[in-house]
């Protein structure tokens, strides 16, 4: 199990104030037994666990994943831009994320297994890992650092282990979603795949060109 250095986290783009908040214990921590354990006896590595289980993630689970998303935003320093009146990032955890969670759990439009696998079991498992990591590392920053950055090549991690699945179906997807919801603007760009820009001829267009 390789440990993580603060320098490495800074180079990976995490905000320095955030890196300063990460407790030392989170940097070198090994995976817990629960993180390495398989998510369930019949888990497959080609789709979410119990993909047919529809239903809404409970309020506790939503709040754990909201905390994770808010921490990710702080960690990478994603922010809304002064030149625009949009509040995509400020409202992400309270507005956009619940829609994402709902969309992936409550797939009532078609059968859950018909290319709309439910993520409910994956979300519940990931929320459990977030909650446990927060207790273990006594902070949200420590939990985020461990869950996202602890050695992904550790040989004990199987494709059906809880932490691998949480990364695949939850943490990495939420990261992509935050970027597509406006996080990309922090790097100075004006549009991104999945971002709702403005209409083609809107005078407030995202375009750099006036021609």
């Amino acid at each position: 199990m390789k440990s993580i250095s603060r320098r490495y986290l800074l180079r990976a783009g995490l905000a320095s104030a955030f890196v300063g908040m990460i407790p030392k214990v989170a940097l070198g921590a090994d995976y817990s037994d629960d993180e390495i354990a398989t998510i369930g006896p019949d888990a497959r590595d080609d789709g979410p666990y119990r993909a047919e289980a529809l239903g809404l993630l409970d309020a506790w689970g939503v709040s754990e994943l909201q905390a994770f998303a808010s921490t990710a935003i702080a960690a990478w320093g994603f922010r809304d831009q002064d030149w625009d009146d949009r509040k995509d990032i400020a409202s992400y955890a309270s507005a956009r994320l619940p829609i994402l969670l709902d969309t992936k759990c409550n797939t009532t439009a078609m059968k859950a297994t018909d290319y709309q696998p439910s993520y409910l079991a994956e979300y519940e498992s990931a929320a459990r890992l977030v909650a446990a990591a927060k207790v273990r590392f006594r902070s949200e920053a420590g939990a985020f650092c461990h869950l996202m950055f602890a050695d992904r090549s550790d040989r004990r991690l199987s494709p059906t282990s809880r932490v691998v699945r949480a990364r695949t179906y939850v943490f990495d997807e939420i990261t992509r979603h935050i970027l597509a919801s406006g996080g990309f603007r922090t790097l100075g760009f004006v549009n991104y795949s999945g971002y709702f820009g403005y209409s083609l001829h809107d005078p407030r267009s995202f375009r750099r060109s006036s021609k």
Binding site: L100, S193, S209
Partner: protein
């Protein structure tokens, strides 16, 4: 034609456009539409969300599988990735490029050996082009000079150029007059929110035939019936000249079911349309397949070789990026009479991707500095060209006997090669594209492979001709020597011109719809 039943094979843009026109023109007509593939949901929020959060397009599961066809690899013909076998067909992932062909494209036989002139002219099709542009919500400049528009206006204003396009304007202008123009692009400007996920739009801002099929069902009620997962494998003949209907394979039972109709329209794309005719064998009347007494069905298949020229912006400190998920600038400078005998080219500055893989870089813990450095030093700009390939009578689509593909359709054999003249044209135009990039002060990035031959642009397997001695259908798209069998797909085009064929196909479909609905 009063009170007829029209059978339409396929559910893509040609099929839906013919169906709509016939149903509108003749209120006693009923249409039965047969689609080999399953249902397809447009504007499905879950599918779109998955696209954004996983990067995997919902369209991928409906593409051809490599095992569905036997294609000689050295020919470069790319089937996988081109077509979608599903309700709405390939328009569900269509890029939306919607230029008209030019008048000379209808007379290629005048300048090239082995090519045929169309049996209709640009002028015959001109007002259908206008209708098709409205149907497909095409944004474009009504002021462009070629091809002639005869005063017709686009429904939507052209989409503005992006700042990245600006890098090329001076270099293109140095070629001559009118060397670039806004790309005619099928986008409903009132719906588009520039999400960069045009291959699966959450707002329905790009025309998809799947949405059009849904509209047909709601508009025409019992006069329109859609049969999904119903692969038509043959046309069933009542006599040598007259079809009784179609034969549909049942994917589950492996039995076949007959459907009778007064008119049959095969609108199943260039490859499947030819295969259906080839599979419609009657020992007495059509022993080599329907309309194939002279061995033209499936032959002459030709498509656009795709050219790619790539350059790097030397110092992208201003962070120019691809602002929208489609090209906004096109050039028809080499798509002209002057180049027709040597091979025309249409090209555009490609606009498909918006900052790809940025999220993956963060997840894989590349440093922000590395990402920034890559943006400043390695932002690429790409020109994509389509060349009108030279015809080859030995290029063929054939049926493979034995087990069917997963779609329930017979498996396909394609024999394809690029002629020496096409290869020469490819080299000539690659030099042209690279010259534009160099002239713009960009750093050329050599490509090992400039691109293959696109299946979704393939034409000519049932080409339009004066007589059966030269082709398969007549100027009305009726199979020669039949009364009531029509082909409406890219297959009927004797040559592809240098542009995406979708708009021309929609125009042909409107024309056929008028004929059948009269």
């Amino acid at each position: 034609m009063r009170g007829k039943k029209v059978l339409i094979v396929g559910s893509g843009v040609a099929a839906t456009t013919v169906a709509r026109r016939v149903l509108e023109r003749n209120d006693a007509t009923v249409v039965d539409m047969f689609e080999a593939g399953p249902d397809f949901r447009t504007q499905n929020w879950r599918w779109w969300t998955d696209f954004v959060t996983t990067g995997r397009s919902p369209n991928g599961r409906y593409l051809d599988k490599p095992s569905d066809a036997d294609i000689n690899p050295e020919g470069g013909f790319e089937l996988v990735g081109g077509r979608m076998i599903v309700k709405g067909g390939s328009t569900n992932h269509w890029g939306g490029w919607a230029p008209r062909m030019k008048p000379e494209d209808f007379r290629l036989g005048d300048v090239r050996k082995g090519a045929l002139n169309w049996q209709i002219s640009y002028e015959d099709l001109a007002h259908y082009y206008t209708d098709a542009e409205h149907l497909l919500d095409v944004c474009g400049s009504s002021e462009t000079l070629t091809p002639p528009r005869y005063g017709a206006r686009y429904k939507h204003q052209p989409i503005p150029y992006t700042a990245m396009d600006g890098l090329l304007m001076e270099a293109l202008s140095s070629l001559g007059e009118n060397a670039f123009e806004p790309m005619p692009m099928a986008r409903d400007a009132t719906r588009c929110q520039t999400t960069g996920t045009c291959r699966y739009c959450p707002f329905g801002a790009r025309y998809t035939a799947a949405a059009d099929v849904d509209q047909l069902a709601s508009t025409f009620g019992k006069r329109f019936r859609l049969h999904l997962e119903s692969p038509v494998v043959a046309v069933r003949m009542r006599s040598r000249r007259t079809a009784a209907g179609v034969t549909v394979g049942d994917k589950k039972s492996h039995n076949t079911v007959h459907h009778d109709g007064d008119v049959t329209v095969i609108a199943a794309g260039t490859i499947e349309s030819a295969k259906i005719l080839l599979n419609s064998v009657t020992t007495t009347w059509w022993p080599k397949g329907l309309g194939n007494s002279t061995d033209h069905v499936g032959r002459h298949i030709v498509t656009h070789p795709l050219l790619r020229a790539v350059a790097r912006i030397p110092n992208n400190s201003t962070r120019l990026e691809q602002e929208v998920d489609f090209p906004t600038m096109a050039s028809r400078f080499y798509d002209s009479v002057d180049f027709q005998s040597r091979g025309k080219m249409f090209f555009a500055r490609d606009g498909r991707y918006i900052l790809p893989n940025f999220a993956e870089k963060l997840i894989s813990r590349s440093t922000i500095n590395e990402v920034n450095d890559q943006i400043i030093r390695n932002t690429r700009i790409e020109l994509r060209g389509l060349i009108e390939a030279f015809p080859d009578e030995d290029n063929r689509v054939e049926l493979i006997e034995g087990p069917f593909a997963t779609s329930g359709l017979p498996r396909t054999r394609i024999r394809y090669r690029e002629s020496e003249a096409t290869i020469t044209a490819r080299h000539m135009h690659l030099v042209h594209l690279e010259g534009v990039l160099r002239k713009a002060g960009l750093q050329h990035v050599p490509q090992e492979d400039s691109g293959g031959a696109r299946a979704d642009h393939a034409v000519a397997t049932c080409r339009m001709s004066r007589s059966p001695a030269e082709g398969v259908v007549d100027r009305d798209l009726r199979v020669h020597e039949t009364d009531n069998v029509f082909v409406c797909s890219n297959a009927v085009m004797p040559n592809p011109g240098a542009v995406n064929p979708t708009l021309t196909l929609a125009a042909l479909a409107l024309r056929l719809g008028d004929l059948l609905g009269a």
